[in-house]
Symmetry: C2
Subunit: 197 residues, 2 copies
């Protein structure tokens, strides 16, 4: 999506260690007008799919998920992170390793809010190694819900998460896929996606 | 706001220890259509205020904040919780005690996203003892930002947070104020607010 790529070029900051900071418009300060344009693009890309719920994981996915859900006219459910093992039997549970925070999170969704009747659009701000997404897919599978598609704002195309998801046959629409970035020059190369606007 | 009070009566669950569960529509599953009606009510209640940013704290405030910001046509900034002391000098920092989770959180906002030019509407899902809000007010004050008002979905009127905030002379609009609730009968009594819809 050209609008997002342009914004990343303008306001994203490339740091050493293949870190891209987009905290001025995505995951600390949030440009909800941009989120609305992203939501409209996903609506076009997932047209015809019987999506009845948006799913994400706290915290930085929630803002995008809320705007996307408003655009689709459906509710959101967000998976909650907990550092303690939660033994409530009313939850689906899994574990997610966060490389950014070097922690393992217990992640839960209440059984009340994820059922075989759900047709999910999973959304998140970043996709890198795919650990968080794999956790969400596992929770959806436990619940017997159908994953209709996955919408990601920024995919690090040089990490393995995107390929892992696409191998599963799930429609994954990352609105900006970074092929490479250079912390010395700040240069960012995006993967061409002719089917996107 | 009658719409929210009715929804709490219908879908809220009163538990022992003055706990109100609203996780089916506010803070685990999120009814963003309801959030949009709440946002419109706050827009009416804060009409004429030069609000240019919505501020909240992760995680459950973010969904409401995103929808409110879309309605006001402004960005969101959300304060981040961290359990470790963060020594980055580019952040405003404070500590917030969570009674629910029995923890003390270090809470941060980047100095880039909170400045003397900001006129804030602070929003959150719950107000009880006011610890989280006091932390956000402290961050705003450190930054020299102006707090134009505070919008809360559900205030526990029998706890002290609401009175503490109103004593400061800040316009606080809680869309449902619970005077009392009974876990045996499930009965909830709301404070009358004739100026709200």
């Amino acid at each position: 999506m050209k609008l997002l790529e342009d914004r990343i070029r303008k306001d994203g900051i490339v740091r050493e260690g293949e870190v891209l900071k987009v905290d001025s418009f995505i995951n600390h300060q949030m440009d909800v007008e941009l989120f609305r344009e992203m939501a409209r693009e996903w609506k076009r890309l997932f047209a015809g799919k019987p999506i009845n719920k948006v799913m994400t994981i706290e915290a930085s996915g929630i803002g995008i998920a809320a705007i996307v859900a408003a655009e689709f006219g459906v509710p959101v459910v967000f998976a909650k992170k907990s550092m303690s093992v939660n033994l409530d039997k009313d939850n689906y549970e899994t574990r997610i390793q966060s490389f950014t925070h070097k922690k393992i999170y217990e992640v839960i969704v209440s059984k009340k809010f994820l059922t075989p009747d759900d047709h999910l659009l999973i959304v998140d701000d970043f996709l890198a190694n795919g650990c968080a997404l794999m956790g969400l897919l596992e929770l959806a599978q436990e619940a017997g819900a159908t994953v209709e598609g996955i919408g990601i704002a920024i995919e690090k195309g040089f990490q393995t998460g995107g390929a892992l998801i696409r191998e599963k046959g799930i429609q994954l629409e990352s609105l900006a896929i970074i092929e490479s970035m250079n912390s010395a020059t700040g240069e960012i190369t995006f993967r061409s996606q002719p089917h996107q606007s």
